[in-house]
Amino acid sequence: MKAYWVALACCLSLPAFAETEHPLLPGYAEQARQDNPAFTGFSAERGKALYFAEQKRDGKTMSCTTCHTADPRQIGKTPAYRKVEPLAPVANPKRFSNPKKVEKWFRRNCDDVFTRECSAQEKGDFITWINSLK
């Protein structure tokens, strides 16, 4: 009888998981675990902190917000005056749907802002946060 309830609980909770977890997260979690065996999961809070983290570049303050604005649900602008469609999936469902594209822009923009690559932990944290925005 107990096993029945456990099985039922699993069946009920699985679809709920599928709905909330972003499809790119399992891959990043696996990578993060490889990078650091003590990996305990992703944090939206850390993802948000990364988005607002400021760096000095050539005397100018830079962060993700420089192009994506302080609200990633809004339209942004590149330094070359190109319109940037909203980054948050709630405002722009195409975002974070193509793994190749996601990797390309993490590669470019982490280098632009932090002059380094972002770790799988950071990418997962970030997607967890940006995907949680309503």
Binding site: A80, Y81, R82, R108
Partner: protein, 168 residues
Amino acid sequence: MRRGKPLAVALVALAVAGFTIADDDEHRYKRPKRLAVPADAPQIWKDECASCHMLYSPGLLPAEAWRRQMDTLNDHYGSNASLEPEEEREIRAFLLRASARNHLPVEPAKTAGEPPRISQTRWFEHKHDEVSAAKFRRESVGGRANCVACHRDAERGDFDEDRVKIPR
């Protein structure tokens, strides 16, 4: 008559020198003329190059300048614009092919280490010498690299002077 010969030679030499100077001067202000974006331009070129800045018609620079752009995408005027090798090859091939009619000399950028800039070519400076620095600084204009602000069809390679409108 014998004296006339050296004089004639000197005159010819002068004329040749004069021509050379005039030619050089003209060359200096020769501007690219084949600017229309080819109809078969690959979508990947549009997608990749226009996600951060306006789409620059390949004819604006000679092929060698584009080669230098494509060789330095990791540090593209301060931004990482690196591409996947396959995308890189396709875009490079298109740029070299579509800029083949531009026979102007490559003019290096003023900042060491940067690839050539369209906005720092002599013809660009000459064509815009009546546009003040203050106008270029306007938020609505967005600098010398943002052609579309004033040339509304710039991304199709249309820079017709009669249609220029500098926004307030």
